[in-house]
């Protein structure tokens, strides 16, 4: 009997605890932003600023909730009923999935500037102190004495950019000679020491396990990693030619209307384009468009030629079909 009573009390305490930690002011409107897994600190910094900005502009106090995960898994959740108002992803294809399902407007890429990509980045290299292997460009990565770390293009959007950048480089270097491009890609892929499923796993392999000579990831990421793990121990190499990585945003129209957040959702994404928003983004090593901010951070981002996915393979859809789907080029290049 005594034990039962205690059990009851425990449940009550826990239920109370859970309800106390729920959002304190139910009257505030709440916006849910579904984002990719490594953007938590970025949006933790942006959200309070946006709340103030919205308060100043509209005199309304609001709250922003965050959900993070792998970009595809996040889109899947929304397809299956997660009521997110806006998405801020690192994969165009994952927003397109939502558009195809009718949750996001067909013309979402026209609704905001720069293809609805308020910030962008590129693929860059992180090498160990002093760059002992002398890595400067993509052809260095297909040398026999170099070992690479980047995640599996099948599970990581980040790695799909890496793969396509290498492909685009090879196409240019070999003037589109198919056989030479395939040979280059085969060697490039064979040089990978570990295929982690996500970017974070690859970082751990490279930094904490000491595997590989080069870590390949978004420029923003390799800069953040260097900041996190030691400016002196690692160097960032931005190759003279690389790929444009867009970070698309969209309003999930169906959900925003249902939640009565249409204006708020648009306001949130607009804020990312304002000078303050762009400055916050640049602070996390993302490249931005706002001229004043671009000038301010010019030292941070070396000039480099950025290829577009569309120029390399036509479109994301074609990239998925021809390269990444089951049995396509990536599988063929890795076959033994």
């Amino acid at each position: 009997m005594y034990a039962l009573k205690r059990f009851h009390r425990a449940v009550v305490a826990i239920v109370l605890g859970a309800s106390l930690t729920a959002p304190a002011m139910a009257s505030d409107r709440e916006l849910l932003n579904s984002s990719y897994d490594i953007a938590r600190e970025l949006f933790s910094a942006i959200n309070p600023e946006f709340q103030e900005w919205w308060q100043a502009e509209h005199g309304e106090s609001i709250a922003v909730q965050q959900s993070h995960g792998g970009s595809s898994a996040q889109a899947r959740s929304i397809l299956q009923g997660l009521r997110a108002d806006v998405v801020t992803y690192n994969q165009v294809t994952d927003v397109q999935v939502l558009a195809d399902a009718g949750l996001v407007d067909e013309d979402w890429q026209e609704q905001f500037d720069n293809n609805a990509s308020p910030y962008y980045s590129t693929t860059a290299f992180l090498v160990r102190e002093g760059n002992p292997k002398g890595i400067e460009n993509w052809d260095d990565l297909a040398r026999d004495d170099v070992s690479l770390v980047f995640p599996n293009p099948k599970t990581s959007g980040n790695a799909r950019y890496t793969y396509l950048a290498a492909w685009g480089f090879a196409e240019e270097a070999f003037d589109g000679d198919e056989e030479q491009v395939h040979d280059f890609m085969r060697t490039f892929l064979r040089n990978v020491a570990v295929f982690d499923t996500g970017g974070r796993g690859a970082t751990t392999s490279f930094i904490e396990r000491g595997i590989g000579d080069v870590l390949i990831s978004f420029e923003s990421e390799v800069n953040n990693i260097r900041g996190e793990y030691g400016e002196d121990d690692y160097e960032v190499i931005v190759p003279p030619i690389s790929i444009l990585a867009e970070f698309p945003v969209a309003v999930v129209q169906t959900n925003a209307e249902r939640n009565g957040n249409d204006d708020l959702a648009r306001g949130y994404l607009d804020y990312l384009y304002t000078e303050e928003g762009q400055r916050l983004l640049a602070g996390f090593n993302y490249r931005v468009h706002h001229e004043a901010v671009v000038e301010e951070f010019a030292d941070q981002f070396p000039e480099t030629e950025l290829m577009r996915v569309e120029d390399i393979v036509g479109s994301w859809e074609e990239a998925m079909d021809a390269h990444f789907s089951g049995g396509a080029l990536l599988d063929q290049l890795q076959r033994r």
Binding site: Q65, A73, Q80, G81, L82
Partner: protein, 275 residues
């Protein structure tokens, strides 16, 4: 009284082997977790634990676990009683069906719930029009947690109850005892340790489940993030200390469960001495 393996040499050898291997295989990872959690001192550890999102994750995880255990307990006892005390067609099939959760990988387990109750699912459409949100809210997390943990109690009880046989209960029936009394007085004392192990495993797995929960949770920070999901998020953020601080909390919950078991054993032993 003499027992097998009582010779001091045998005993010392076996204890040494068990302790040495466990230390290498189980204790070392635990030490590594705590070492990482406290790598930047106790202050940073505490700051990571005593934070709004971590506390919300802890309370959600405990809430789901506390609701999961009684469900699994009732089901496990009923099923074990059914398959070990009666013989009926389809018994082996039923006994095998309860192992489905072990045979399904956790991510797939989450996915099948999503395919059924999600917006595009068979039942999900109806739920959506009636504005009932099961997935991406705590009920969904509870549902998959029950799915993943429900075999444990039954699985602990079945081999034991089979080995014991039903003679004692049958004797009680011939003496005219009613069903509930038989269960409480005859069966329960015989199975209580297995039952306890079942609960401990259920608890451990419910607290630590990641794969299935990650699919149905929606991972809204402070709302539907369980402790394992929160931990993963911190790890993605390069907050290794924060991630391992959460991991050490999960390990701590496991250790506390065991402490509870030890105190129950101790009380039971004392009661036997008094009786």
């Amino acid at each position: 009284m003499q027992r097998i393996g009582d010779a001091p040499a045998v005993r010392r050898l076996l204890v040494f082997l068990a302790v040495a291997l466990s230390a290498l295989f189980l204790l070392l990872p635990l030490v590594a977790i705590f070492a990482q959690a406290f790598a930047q001192g106790i202050g940073v550890f505490w700051a990571n634990v005593n934070n709004h999102y971590t506390l919300a994750a802890i309370s959600l995880t405990l809430f789901v676990t506390v609701l999961t255990i009684p469900m699994c307990l009732v089901f496990g006892v009923a099923l074990a009683w059914l398959v070990t005390r009666f013989s009926f067609p389809g018994r082996r099939i039923l006994q095998t069906l309860i192992d489905i959760p072990f045979a399904v990988s956790p991510v797939v387990a989450g996915l099948i719930y999503l395919l059924l109750y999600g917006r595009n699912g068979w039942l999900g459409g109806w739920l959506d029009t009636h504005d009932i949100q099961l997935m991406f809210a705590w009920p969904g997390i509870l549902m998959v947690t029950i799915f993943v943990t429900c075999p444990f109690v039954a699985r602990e009880l079945i081999p034991l109850m089979q080995a014991q046989g039903s003679r004692e209960e049958e004797a009680a029936v011939t003496l005219g005892a009613p069903g509930w009394t038989i269960f409480r007085r005859v069966t329960l004392p015989n199975i209580r340790w297995a039952l306890l192990y079942g609960v401990i495993l259920t608890n451990a797995r419910a607290v630590g489940e990641f794969g299935a929960v990650s699919v149905v949770s929606g991972a809204i920070r402070g709302q539907t993030n369980t402790l394992p999901l929160h931990l993963e998020q911190l790890y993605q953020d390069y907050n290794t200390v924060g991630a391992f601080a959460s991991a050490s909390l999960l390990a701590l919950i496991a250790l506390l469960t065991l402490a509870a078991k030890a105190s129950m054993e101790w009380r039971a032993a004392r009661r036997e001495v008094h009786a």
